[in-house]
């Protein structure tokens, strides 16, 4: 096969996917209505949008960012990369260089033209060590971004990435595109006066109360958006947030499994819709295999085998949490016939501990939240049953990453978030020598599989690799998984067009009211 033919074959799926992605936007089957206004009840207050100031966006900020800004690419309903500010893309054979063709004629809300130079300035600003941005960590795999002409953008990577266009779809601090003119002229005030190219423009923002977004009349995607106005409100208390939805002050609210009673109530209410998305990734825990007693595989296996996940789900979330046996989850394209999960087996666990011969005593980090404490207590009971004594060490959320990175733990909670591709997280979490390889475990076979999976284009083959990786990790029990990521939003039944909640983002920028 010639090089060109090979390239065409390689890229064909991308263009096909792109064509499909546009279908729901133009299809006549769904009668989108224009006009009206909705109120979104969020969990947290938004601190701002300037990556240099806020560092990392939280889930509430994602929702606002999805309306105010655009990203280069987006995920379609099948979880594949589709065009947004970029209309097409190609890659080098080694997947170290990706070239994006940008959409022409797009303008930021302040009139600044969107082009390759504007994007490059966004990237350089985050990457510049002088700016000391927390956001820089998440783009360490990108060596540089080049703008060879006005509508061409080139990503130069430090490591291969076969699925980059899908990975950069989340409305995160690194991916949304800001107007360079705006941050230069507004300085410190830019953080709370963001300017993007998105379907909505920030109209007003009352601290602690509401953020009002108005329709962008010049949005590049003609006919969109449908709603005239979106109001975002922080409603921190789960009970009153749900009451606001019931009484009609909010049209859609953020929710999670820990609020299981209200989710179940909403499922029975014909005036409400429960939106749920079974994402990829899971709530996970890492053993520090460099310290006793976890330097012995028998102890690690025993603890994993002692966990009764269905019972734990019942205790914590009324049975809503879905047990996980691998780090990918049902939402991932990685499908394993055999992921090597260790069975729940109390007797075997007891025998392994007995075989180890020494008392098993350790400390586990948990977040100082009711949620974290509860998870810790449930695990403590399971482990006590097989003869292991765990002491709960409660620390605040911000302390966990720093303790984890400096390896000051025996066992720590972690999370594999819902990304379109397992590579970035799996490679960082398990490749020898990675600062994020928390278990301190090194295995040439594991490294080989991780390296192979990241440069292979064939999804079937990659899926095989990742299943082999799961089998290896499960067998060695260096990490374990409790529950898959599931995301929830509850809305009035009148709200239509709500897309899949990738990474838990409530993206209301394409919704309308019936």
């Amino acid at each position: 096969m010639t090089k060109i033919a090979a390239a065409a074959r390689k890229h064909a799926p991308i263009f096909l996917v792109a064509a499909f992605a546009l279908l729901p936007l133009t299809g006549p089957a769904q009668a989108q209505k224009s006009g009206g206004s909705i109120t979104v009840g969020q969990e947290l207050e938004i601190a701002g949008f300037d990556p240099l100031k806020v560092g990392v966006y939280d889930t509430s900020t994602f929702t606002a960012a999805a309306a105010i800004f655009d990203t280069l690419t987006t995920l379609d309903e099948k979880g594949q990369a589709a065009p947004k500010l970029a209309v097409s893309w190609t890659h080098s054979d080694d997947y170290m260089t990706w070239t994006f063709k940008l959409r022409e004629g797009v303008k930021f809300h302040d009139g600044t033209p969107f082009n390759a130079q504007a994007f490059k300035e966004n990237f350089d600003r985050q990457k510049d060590p002088a700016n000391k941005c927390r956001c820089a960590f998440y783009i360490t795999n990108i060596k540089e971004v080049l703008a060879p002409d006005e509508y061409t953008l080139v990503y130069k990577l430090t490591d291969p990435s076969v699925n980059l266009p899908a990975v950069i779809t989340i409305q995160s601090q690194n991916n949304v595109v800001h107007s360079p003119t705006a941050w230069k002229t507004k300085g410190d005030d830019y953080n709370r006066n963001p300017v993007g190219t998105g379907p909505y423009i920030l109209k007003s923002w009352t601290a602690g109360d509401r953020m009002v977004l108005e329709k962008n009349p010049n949005y590049w995607d003609k006919g969109r958006p449908y709603l005239d106005r979106i109001i975002l409100k922080p409603l921190p208390d789960a009970q009153s947030r749900f009451a606001s939805l019931q009484s009609g002050e909010a049209d859609i609210i953020w929710d999670d499994e820990n609020d299981a009673d209200n989710i179940m109530k909403a499922q029975k209410d014909s005036k409400l819709t429960v939106h749920t998305y079974k994402g990829s990734g899971a709530a996970v825990y890492a053993f520090n295999t460099k310290v006793a007693p976890f330097d012995d595989v028998r102890v690690r296996q025993a603890l994993v085998m002692a966990i009764d996940r269905p019972k734990m789900s019942q205790a914590i979330t009324n049975g809503l949490s879905r047990p996980a046996s691998n780090p990918y989850g049902d939402g991932s394209w990685v499908k394993c016939k055999d992921d090597g999960a260790l069975p729940f087996d109390v007797e075997k666990a007891k025998a392994l501990i007995k075989d180890y011969g020494k008392p098993v005593e350790f400390k586990m980090l948990v977040t100082a939240t009711p949620r974290g404490r509860m998870v810790g207590q449930v695990l403590q009971q399971f482990w006590k049953r097989v003869g292991a004594n765990m002491e709960i060490e409660q620390v605040d959320q911000a302390t966990i990453p720093s303790r984890a990175f400096t390896r000051q733990f025996q066992m720590t909670p972690w999370r594999i978030v819902d990304l379109a591709d397992p590579d970035p997280q799996m490679y960082a979490n398990f490749r020898s020598g990675s600062p994020l390889a928390l278990a301190g475990y090194s295995n040439p076979e594991l490294d080989k599989l991780l390296d192979h999976a990241r440069v292979t284009a064939d999804l079937g083959q990659r899926s095989e690799d990742y299943c082999a990786i799961s089998r290896l990790i499960n067998k060695e029990a260096i990490w374990f998984w409790t529950f898959q990521n599931t995301y929830y939003a509850l809305s009035s039944a009148k709200l239509k067009g709500f897309p899949k909640m990738y990474n838990g983002v409530i993206d209301v920028s394409r919704t309308w009211l019936e």
């Binding site: 560092g55 000391k132 602690g208 409100k233 409603l235 009153s240 606001s244 002050e249 605040d396 990175f405």
Partner: protein, 316 residues
């Protein structure tokens, strides 16, 4: 009187100084490193060390306190590292909401507590008195988050009379604004009136046994006139103190109530600052609130002196 005012003002100074020291220590002694919080998960030890130097965190505690106090005295309480807002800006945006909430709560509390106290005192030991004293105990033992949720379910979800959450500024829609405040203020007031009622009731019972009341009765004055004109004012001294202290206590209540009802007040600002470890905002808000409390106490003292001249002359 002027002498008294000056004396009280001078007495406030050491209190304020102690308040500032405690506030500073709270933020400094909290576990966690401010530099680490700012730089986040991926901070390298060199970055943290550099930022600590920049921020003066490597200096001794007393030096940091003095330089912080110096800045505070010049009106600079610092800037949130998350939002870029100054503490004063953030507080100025939020304080009207909390003040309105506290005043409305106190007002509703008095509105319930004072008439009930008078009615109870008028027939002390009677059926109404016994019932209300019992109810007051019951109300006192109800946590405010529970009261708030019950009120929301009754008035917002079931009856649709009042909104469950939200806020509009008074200047934008006066009536709408009041609607948003009714449930949160009522939640706080329901915890307030028992205290008000019990204090005023016992003081009034004592007053009603004084000789001059007996004289008034003998002169044939109407019972209502005796209660409201002759007995209420001298019985309300303790009530004034309690009301003053309540305002400080109410600030604590706003932490919960503002979060539940999503009111953008000081309570919410403080809770948010704790969650996000925004120590600059935390320190600044606690300092301002503590100062506010000291000032309210000062005002109460002044009122006290107006109500009872014996106090300003130092006889009581």
């Amino acid at each position: 009187m002027l002498n008294f005012v000056v004396r009280r003002l001078l007495a406030m100074l050491p209190v304020l100084l102690a308040v500032s020291l405690l506030t500073f220590l709270i933020a400094s002694l909290l576990p966690g490193d401010l530099a680490l919080v700012i730089l986040g998960d991926q901070a390298t030890p060199e970055n943290v060390a550099a930022l600590r130097r920049d921020m003066g965190l490597d200096q001794p505690l007393w030096w940091r306190y003095l330089s912080w106090l110096g800045q505070v005295l010049q009106g600079d309480l610092g800037r949130s590292f998350r939002t870029g807002q100054t503490v004063l800006q953030a507080v100025a945006e939020r304080i009207p909401v909390s003040l309105q909430l506290m005043l409305m709560a106190e007002f509703i509390g008095l509105l319930i507590g004072v008439p009930v106290a008078i009615a109870c005192a008028a027939r002390a030991g009677g059926a109404f008195d016994r019932f209300m004293t019992g109810s007051a105990f019951a109300m006192l033992s109800m946590p405010s988050f529970l009261v708030a949720i019950l009120l929301i379910y009754l008035f917002a979800v079931e009856l649709h009379w009042l909104p469950a959450t939200g806020y509009v500024p008074f200047t934008e829609a006066p009536l709408g604004n009041l609607r948003f405040f009714v449930l949160p203020a009522l939640t706080l007031a329901l915890a307030e009136w028992p205290g008000i009622m019990r204090v005023l009731r016992s003081d009034m019972i004592a007053t009603l046994q004084e000789d001059y009341i007996a004289l008034a009765k003998a002169k044939g004055l109407k019972p209502a006139r005796i209660l409201f004109v002759h007995a209420l004012k001298p019985s309300s001294l303790t009530l004034v103190t309690v009301t003053g202290i309540n305002i400080g206590r109410l600030l604590g209540g706003t932490l919960i109530v503002e979060s539940i009802f999503a009111l953008p007040g000081i309570g919410r600002l403080l809770v948010g600052a704790i969650y996000t470890r925004d120590l600059v905002i935390l320190q600044g808000v606690v300092l301002l609130v503590a100062c506010g409390f000291v000032i309210v106490n000062f005002i109460v003292d002044m009122l006290y002196a107006v109500l009872d001249p014996r106090i300003r002359h130092g006889h009581a």
